[in-house]
């Protein structure tokens, strides 16, 4: 990365800012709409002009973790707020943003010091880290007597070059959702190899008019599509990139990528007798999850959140959905291709503190409260709207909420999960969509696409 000066830029910006503020205020006051200014005294604007005093202002936290069903008591959120109050002796402001907005806003504006704490995903974590927005949390961890209780691969994902920059609160691994009832009717076992899966899938497509064997996400830009792809990469390697000196080194063969493309995209959509439905090409999770829950698909790749789809008034109150998830679904490891072993994409959700916050102590307290085992077991696990979130907890003091033996395999699958390395994944994802769609739409031979994607990934080694 080029190093250059920008100090002048900031000064100029401030200058214009100051003159501009006067102008704008005068103008607006003169134009009769200044009245609105009086209504906006709350929020984070006031303290941000203090020169970093860290005064008595409430901390601000952005998150997207709490469930959001309306009209139901938010058990988890309440527990969190109570815990924060207990630790900090005051309240905090929580603001909810969808991940996409959260990421965009934080990358744009974290330097202003707001928000103080932020919840997110692992790929956000790598980006915030690379941008220098995250405060180190080792001193906080040292104060926590329960710190050792977090599971190892969750904590590992929160570290960068040995230092801790986040604490985990939720973990889930991608798993194979299987319609056991359909397999039973056909007298088939859960497929363990990809070729068995293709065979069973084609059988289902032949025998059933209203069920398609499989669906996965192929929409351009779909985060879920990338995660599904990574699940299959993790069946072959522990990490797509491994650190090498100051840079990253690609740790997967072109042949392997080609095989994953072949098994999970080419055979699914592009061949003459496809396992999935080519008419579903270009869809994302909005088709995937409801499709499975409504009985349209026999297999999908999913996670614990699917359990939440039937609870509350939120999504689907039909008996069909309940029946499919309670009685007909069996959770299993993904079928494995040649040379593959058990492995899957592991999602660990981090909570982080803004390095630019002018009240870092409160920010850390928010991180502490959000990830506190008490909050996880008394809040998350007890919240009927989040019953999926605590199925595979990240702390040993929290009991799993799995209550059906069909779902028990999740615990074991969770242990085979690999978390994303601290790579800035944006450019990798962009390349992925291009080659994945080329394969799924039958434009490019999967192994050729594997070659090309592989060399694109190599080119990215120094950039990410």
């Amino acid at each position: 990365m080029p190093q250059n000066q920008s100090g002048t830029g900031i000064t100029r910006r401030r200058m214009i800012g100051v003159t501009g503020a006067g102008v704008a205020t005068t103008l607006l006051a003169g134009c009769g709409s200044g009245g609105t200014a009086e209504t906006d005294s709350d929020g984070g604007t006031e303290e941000s002009t203090d020169s970093g005093g860290g005064s008595g202002e409430q901390a601000l936290m952005w998150e997207y973790g709490f469930p959001n069903t309306q009209g139901v008591e938010p058990v988890w959120r309440n527990t969190f707020e109570a815990k924060y109050e207990e630790l900090a002796g005051e309240e905090l402001t929580i603001s909810r943003f969808a991940y996409e907005d959260l990421r965009q806003k934080f990358l744009t504006g974290a330097r202003t010091g707001d928000p103080d704490a932020i919840e997110g995903t692992l790929s956000h974590f790598s980006e915030y880290l690379a941008a220098g927005h995250l405060a180190q949390l080792d001193d906080l961890a040292n104060e926590l007597d329960y710190f050792d209780g977090y599971i190892d691969n969750a904590i590992d994902a929160m570290r960068y070059q040995g230092d801790l920059y986040a604490l985990p609160y939720e973990g889930n691994a991608r798993a194979f959702f299987v319609r056991q009832d359909i397999l039973d009717e056909l007298g088939q076992d859960i497929p363990e190899t990809v070729s068995d899966f293709h065979e069973v899938g084609r059988m289902i497509n032949e025998e059933y008019d209203d069920v398609v064997a499989y669906h996965n996400c192929t929409k351009d830009g779909s985060v879920r599509a990338f995660q599904e792809f990574m699940s299959h990469i993790y069946q072959h390697t522990d990490n797509m990139y491994v650190p090498e000196g100051d840079s990253w080194s690609l740790n997967v063969e072109a042949e392997t990528i080609g095989q994953v493309f072949d098994n999970w995209y080419y055979q699914m959509y592009a061949v003459d007798n496809p396992v999935a439905d080519p008419d579903d090409l270009g869809t994302g999770w909005q088709t995937n999850d409801p499709g499975y829950i409504n009985g349209n698909y026999a297999f999908i790749e999913g996670g614990t959140w699917i359990r939440n789809w039937t609870s509350g008034e939120n999504i689907n109150d039909s008996d069909t959905a309940q029946d499919i998830l309670d009685n007909k679904t069996q959770i299993a490891h993904f079928p494995r291709g040649e040379g593959a072993s058990k492995g899957t994409f592991l999602e660990i959700k981090p909570v982080m503190a803004n390095a630019h916050s002018d009240q870092l102590e409160k920010a850390k307290t928010a991180v502490q409260a959000y990830t506190h085992p008490d909050v996880l077991s008394e809040g998350m696990a007890q919240d009927p709207e989040a019953s999926g979130s605590a199925m595979t907890p990240v702390h040993e003091d929290v009991e799993s909420t799995i209550d059906s033996e069909n779902w028990e395999a999740l615990t074991e699958i969770f242990e085979t999960g690999r978390a994303l390395a601290q790579v800035t994944w944006g450019p990798v994802r962009e390349e992925f969509y291009t080659y994945m769609q080329q394969v799924a739409y039958g434009e490019t031979d999967p192994y050729d696409a594997g070659e090309q994607f592989h060399s694109a990934l190599q080119d990215l080694e120094s950039e990410i």
């Binding site: 990365m1 080029p2 190093q3 250059n4 920008s6 830029g9 900031i10 214009i16 501009g20 102008v23 704008a24 103008l27 003169g30 134009c31 965009q104 990358l107 980006e127 690379a130 941008a131 220098g132 192929t218 929409k219 351009d220 830009g221 779909s222 439905d277 080519p278 008419d279 579903d280 090409l281 270009g282 869809t283 909005q286 088709t287 499709g291 349209n296 800035t424 944006g426 450019p427 994802r429 962009e430 969509y433 291009t434 769609q437 080329q438 739409y441 434009e443």
Partner: protein
């Protein structure tokens, strides 16, 4: 002001009027100008400046001047060129359809048939739906299996598919969404323009023996030419830089078949972290739009 001697010549008086008139003109335009200059002019200048730098989203404070390198890269970037062509094509098709359909709608809404007020009131309804909701609706309509469009096609024995996932149809759907959303606004603006035409002009034309089509061509069209021009430029700009309709519906896919400049810029800035390169694409967009606007406005006023 009154210190000027009364003995000034006629020219002096005129000069004074000119001065005060000009002064008044400036004063009235200043509030709008200042707000724009401060709130958006400055960020735009910074944005243009970025086009000559290499800058990363992850570290925007550290930027390096690289001259025209970003622009030279554009010359070799086939994805950019594809997106540029597609954006121009999309804009051309969308705005032509919108204008023709909008004009047609304005003409029928002008007719004084019983109940036309209801149609007028309802007409803007597509325009006020948040884009995200419009996209959700359209995605639902063409959903494979349970989308109404596919249910109907299926019953007719025709091919069904998730149409946003098919290369040609995805582009057509993007066009349809643009048209569906904005036609009413054209209609209302043109209708307002037509309403302002004095009835006497129609009477005069009628007395001259002009029929309905001739009256439309020689009275209506010239009188709404300014509004037409404004609507066209407004929507050319809107369509050319539109991001959310494409991004939310197809993300630019499948296989890049709906990738437009705005989605490409977004991906450059927020996925590739290439702020400088993204900005250079923005500058190209700005130049194209400015040239279009200037040429079009000159052409219209020359007429």
């Amino acid at each position: 002001m009154s210190t000027q001697s009364a003995g000034l010549s006629r020219y002096g008086e005129e000069f004074k009027t000119f001065l005060s008139e000009t002064w008044l003109g400036y004063v009235m335009v200043i509030p709008a100008t200042l707000i724009l200059a401060v709130i958006i002019g400055y960020p735009i200048l910074r944005g243009i400046q970025l086009a000559f730098y290499e800058a990363s989203l992850l570290n925007p404070e550290q930027m390096q001047y690289i001259g025209l390198e970003n622009f030279l890269r554009l010359l070799e970037d086939t994805t950019f060129q594809g997106a540029l062509w597609r954006t121009i094509l999309l804009t051309g098709i969308v705005v032509s359809l919108q204008y023709l359909l909008g004009l047609g709608l304005a003409l029928v809404l002008r007719e004084k048939v019983p109940g036309v007020e209801i149609f007028r009131s309802l007409s803007m309804v597509t325009w006020v739906i948040p884009v995200i909701v419009m996209v959700i609706i359209f995605r639902f309509l063409v959903q494979n299996g349970f989308g109404p469009v596919n249910i109907i096609l299926g019953n007719l024995g025709m091919e069904t598919s998730y149409w946003f996932g098919q290369r040609g149809p995805a582009f057509i759907l993007v066009i349809i969404m643009h048209v569906w959303r904005n036609v009413p606004f054209y209609a209302i603006a043109l209708l307002a323009g037509m309403t302002a035409i004095p009835k006497e002009q129609y009477e005069a034309a009628r007395l001259d023996g002009a029929g309905a089509l001739q009256r439309f061509r020689y009275v209506t069209l010239p009188q709404i030419s300014t509004v037409s021009m404004i609507m066209i430029i407004l929507h050319v700009t809107f369509t050319f830089k539109n991001f959310d309709i494409v991004y939310l519906s197809t993300g630019g896919g499948p296989l890049g078949s709906t990738e437009v400049l705005a989605t490409y810029v977004y991906k450059q800035a927020f996925e590739q972290y290439a702020l400088g390169y993204g900005a250079s694409i923005g500058v190209v967009m700005l130049i194209i739009m400015l040239v279009f606007t200037v040429v079009y406005v000159q052409y219209e006023s020359a007429e």
